[in-house]
């Protein structure tokens, strides 16, 4: 490092630190604690609380250690009488009107004000007058309760909101001692990262609605874990009391979360102890699902699967799911399918996403914090992997990075950025033109309506300027993926040096890991093609098989085969296909036609209700093992935090099922690790799993039709675009009482112009219909919607958009309000 070092003496201890280091950080290095309230290493220095005042030689007045960068030869005193008096003074001021309700305060026990008063404060108060009162228990937003009296106005929350979340919702109102933390224009404090202010608050002013009065800090049993809400895999700490999960806080992993959690990761935990969770296996008897014992259920599953296999062969069985499991479980599931059920029909993909990580242009999450150019392709990181968006927003606002979004869904950012909005299916055409332009073609291929060739040239100029380019894609449309890679290769080939990082937020938390573990048709663990003789040999030996099943069907193929009656038995693991698969009718038909359907899930989901056997699985809190996130980083959870209760972990269920099928498998974590070793897979904490080969995107020769709009709207119709929303989707979200307050309501988002043209108003009940399919929604205006399209969240249980089978031209009609009898 060529960084200049300066020498500074603090209380007689000399330390060398890089130039520009703040005094408070330099003191930390020599083990001197300077008390702070408003200072936070992740926020800009503000110097508001004046708690950190220290004396510096040759400076007339005491200086704030949290705002003063050290200079060479600086001599600092933190233990003088004056400094001690000032600390006492600041604490006295802070406590003047601070209520004496520590016994009832959620923060009591982990409160900076308590701790520092103990360490530095005067023992008594000299206040003669009565304390002044301010509003208590203010509902700031869906998850945050504000106590103005306890607030010491350090403004960490306001600064976080402006600097990190890049919002402008929190403000300081009034002046002097009337200062209040408030929201702009009294609107509720609502965005995807509000919960972080609870951690930042040094006192008990901002508390969690869900955790309020549930426990005191010393009650809590704290267990490190990995968040399984999305594919970022944030490091979290789970806090239990009396065996109930009461709180989730971040552990600050610079490789993933960077210290910030999204609200879904932080507040969606009550499902773990939901009353509705399945605790007993269910088996269909006379058309009804009835609770049975584990052995009975497993016997039933083994008997029926064996019967189908003997009668129709292994290819009549199919296994779908695994994107929510640990790496061990994913490995065991594909082994179960291939070795025990004898079928090559395995796929973890449940939502239409094709890949969740490619081997080309590898990117890390941390790259987003350094990129100077962002390219978003059909991707809404805020809704699919929210924590990534914090890095992007900060990049845009702090580093003046540039961003261009291409696609049928476009994100919303506060700062200026490029937007190329197209109809569903047209993204590939834009990218093909981009690839041609990047390759230096004079004549660009045909562009979708509304996209100007000049825009493409501007985009080329912008990409040319980028030194570090981060690309995010949703991984759904293979044609888009192929053209995207083509464009990126063309960009790489241009003169000048640059690094390109492609990230594909996974639809499921472990999509990338499941794919690597072989939950893909045609690929064995480690993306080894099933046809590779050498691997076949290893596996045959390892698994004790005579014959390894060949390449099977993917999810779409399995569903089609089941609907046609060719596939008889289905094993769905953590896959609520009825809500998540783009074609809902196909799923219903397939599940109805299949002879025998086993669903393994936490809840009786829409899919589980159609099953013949439902096996209750345990949530992530009861699991140990390894997880891989969207950039392939492997993270370990050493110990389960909870017992699985009446349910069983997926690993235990797979093992028990194998044994019920008469196989002598050892399915411990250690055995699986040994098998990985034999296969040459490196899975350990901190390892990076490679991305999938590009062949997953299908043949390189693309049909001429690719890149043209998949649907065309007739007069008076709009094109329906299913869109990701953080608080939409079935599964755990629908069964979490804490999430009810934010769960997406069945709403359709129109461009304001379209809404006006249709003669509709915000809040009108509407019905979207195409052919026989129809869903009832409420109309909302959103400026980021592309004119001519209507966006509906994916996976709403009340209004499943997959009735339309993907993008569709829909007719919008206003619903007459139902008259209640």
């Amino acid at each position: 490092m060529s960084q200049e070092l300066v020498t500074v003496t603090i209380d007689g201890r000399t330390v060398q630190v890089p130039k520009g280091t703040l005094l408070v950080e330099a003191a930390k290095q020599v083990g001197i604690h300077i008390p702070v309230f408003c200072y936070h290493p992740k926020l800009d220095p503000a110097g508001l609380c004046r708690m950190c005042l220290v004396q510096v030689e040759k400076m007339p007045k005491p200086v704030t250690a949290c705002t003063t960068p050290v200079t060479d030869g600086m001599v600092v005193h933190t233990q003088t009488q004056l400094v001690s008096d000032l600390r006492k003074g600041v604490l006295e001021f802070l406590l003047l009107n601070h209520p004496l309700d520590c016994p009832v305060c959620d923060k009591g026990g982990e409160c900076d004000l308590q701790d520092l008063t103990f360490a530095y404060g005067a023992g008594t108060s000299r206040l003669v007058d009565p304390k002044e009162h301010k509003p208590k228990a203010v509902d700031l937003g869906p998850f945050i309760v504000l106590d103005e009296e306890r607030c010491i106005l350090c403004r960490r929350c306001v600064r976080y909101d402006h600097e990190v979340a890049c919002e402008t919702q929190l403000v300081v109102e009034e002046r002097g001692h009337h200062n209040l933390i408030a929201t702009a224009k009294g609107q509720p404090y609502e965005h995807h990262f509000t919960g972080n202010v609870i951690d930042l608050c040094p006192v008990g002013a901002l508390t969690s609605e869900l955790y309020r009065f549930k426990a005191r800090p010393w009650d809590l049993v704290k267990v490190p874990a990995i968040c399984t809400g999305c594919s970022v895999g944030c490091s979290v700490e789970l806090h239990f009391r009396h065996g109930r999960l009461l709180r989730v806080i971040p552990r600050d992993n610079p490789a993933t979360d960077g210290g910030w959690l999204c609200d879904r990761g932080r507040f969606q935990y009550q499902y773990v102890q939901s009353e509705e969770r399945l605790t007993q296996p269910l088996v269909r008897r006379n058309g009804e699902l009835v609770p049975v014992s584990w052995s009975e259920a497993l016997d039933e599953v083994a008997r029926r699967f064996r019967a189908i296999r003997e009668q129709h062969g292994g290819e009549a069985l199919g296994v779908i799911g695994g994107g929510r499991l640990t790496l061990e479980e994913a490995y065991l599931l594909q082994k179960l399918a291939r070795a025990a059920l004898g079928t090559g029909n395995v796929d973890h993909r449940v939502s239409g996403q094709v890949v969740a990580g490619l081997s080309q242009f590898p990117g890390r999450i941390a790259d987003l914090s350094e990129a100077d150019t962002y390219l978003l392709v059909d991707c809404l990181p805020l809704e699919t992997a929210p924590v990534l968006d914090i890095r992007i927003r900060r990049g845009l606002e702090r580093r003046r990075a540039r961003l261009v979004a291409i696609g049928s869904v476009l994100p919303r950012y506060r700062v200026r950025h490029g937007r190329i909005g197209v109809r569903p299916g047209e993204t590939a055409a834009v990218l093909r033109a981009l690839a041609a332009a990047l390759a230096g073609a004079k004549e660009l291929p045909a562009l979708p309506a509304g996209v100007d060739p000049e825009t493409i040239r501007e985009l080329v100029a912008l990409l040319d300027k980028g030194q570090k380019i981060a690309v995010l894609w949703d991984g759904r449309d293979p044609a888009t993926g192929r053209t995207l890679l083509e464009a990126l290769r063309a960009l790489q080939g241009r003169p000048g040096s640059r690094s390109i990082h492609l990230l594909i937020p996974g639809e499921q938390p472990m999509s990338r890991g499941a794919a690597y573990m072989g939950l893909l048709p045609g690929y064995l663990p480690g993306y080894k093609p099933v046809t590779l003789a050498q691997v076949q040999e290893t596996l045959r030996r390892l698994w004790g098989l005579r014959q390894l099943p060949g390449k099977g069907l993917d999810t779409a193929g399995m569903l089609a085969a089941a609907a046609e009656g060719r596939l008889k038995g289905l094993y769905l693991v953590g896959a609520n296909l009825a809500l998540t698969w783009p074609d809902g009718d196909l799923v219903r038909k397939a599940l109805a036609q299949a002879e025998f359907v086993v669903v393994q899930d936490l809840f009786l989901t829409e899919t589980a209700r159609m099953a013949d056997v439902v096996l209750p699985a345990a949530p992530f809190t009861a699991k140990a093992g390894h997880y891989a996130n969207l950039d392939g980083l492997v993270q370990a959870v050493a110990q389960p935090a909870q017992s699985p209760g009446g349910a069983q972990t997926d690993l235990a269920i797979f093992g028990a099922l194998a044994r019920t099928l008469g196989l002598e498998w050892k399915t411990g974590v250690g055995e699986i690790a040994r098998e990985w070793q034999a296969l040459g897979l490196k899975v350990a904490e901190g390892a990076l799993l490679p991305g999938a080969p590009a062949d997953l995107l299908g043949p390189a020769a693309e049909p001429a039709a690719a890149g043209t709009a998949t649907v065309r709207a007739q007069d008076g119709e709009l094109i329906l675009v299913p869109v990701d929303r953080l608080y939409a989707g079935g599964g755990t979200l629908a069964f979490d009482p804490g999430m009810a307050r934010v769960a997406n309501r069945p709403e359709a988002y129109f461009h304001p112009e379209d809404l006006r043209r249709l003669g509709l108003a915000e809040g009108d009940p509407v019905t979207l219909s195409a052919g026989e399919a129809a869903v009832d929604l409420v109309a909302r205006a959103a400026a980021e919607v592309i004119p001519g399209t209507v966006q509906v969240p994916r996976g709403l249980p009340q209004a499943p958009v997959n009735r339309f089978g993907g993008a569709a031209a829909v007719r919008v009609t206003r619903r007459v309000a139902e008259v209640k009898a």
């Binding site: 209520p99 004496l100 309700d101 520590c102 016994p103 009832v104 009591g108 009565p130 304390k131 009162h133 509003p135 208590k136 228990a137 203010v138 509902d139 700031l140 309760v145 408030a182 929201t183 224009k185 009294g186 609107q187 509720p188 309020r212 009065f213 549930k214 426990a215 005191r216 010393w218 009650d219």
Partner: protein, 165 residues
Amino acid sequence: MANMLTAIAKGLGTTLRVMFKPKVTLEYPEVKKPRSQRFRGRHELRIYENGLEMCVGCELCQVACPAHAITVIAAENDPNNPRSPGERYGYKYQVDLLRCIFCGYCEEACPTECLHLTQEFELAAFSREALVYQKEQLLARAPSHFKVPENVYPPYTGRKVLVAE
């Protein structure tokens, strides 16, 4: 002979003398031995003079207890029907008297002077469960002379909502 008679007279004299002294045995359980002012018996949760519970569910007694005999679970007050002044009250309060060692640390820890140890010592029951005292058993029957410290716990008026402009 004379010796014998004097011995009997002496013995009877003792009897006679003791007959007129105050009695040392007590008619327990009708009469109970007086206890020290600082005697530590069964726990009691005081209530304020206006009938509100003094317990705010702070769990400090729980953390002070060396025998892990106390369990407190708090909840938010219903502003229309508050159980205690302020926002929080002890929703569940248990003392496992089989574990309790009557050290009185809990009493010392109580920030509201709610929890105290009474003079009651007759703590016997026919099952272990019956000796895990619940809140209903621990609450005082009559209000105490304590007044609500309004400056510390202003009346809880419920959640406030933001006023939109």
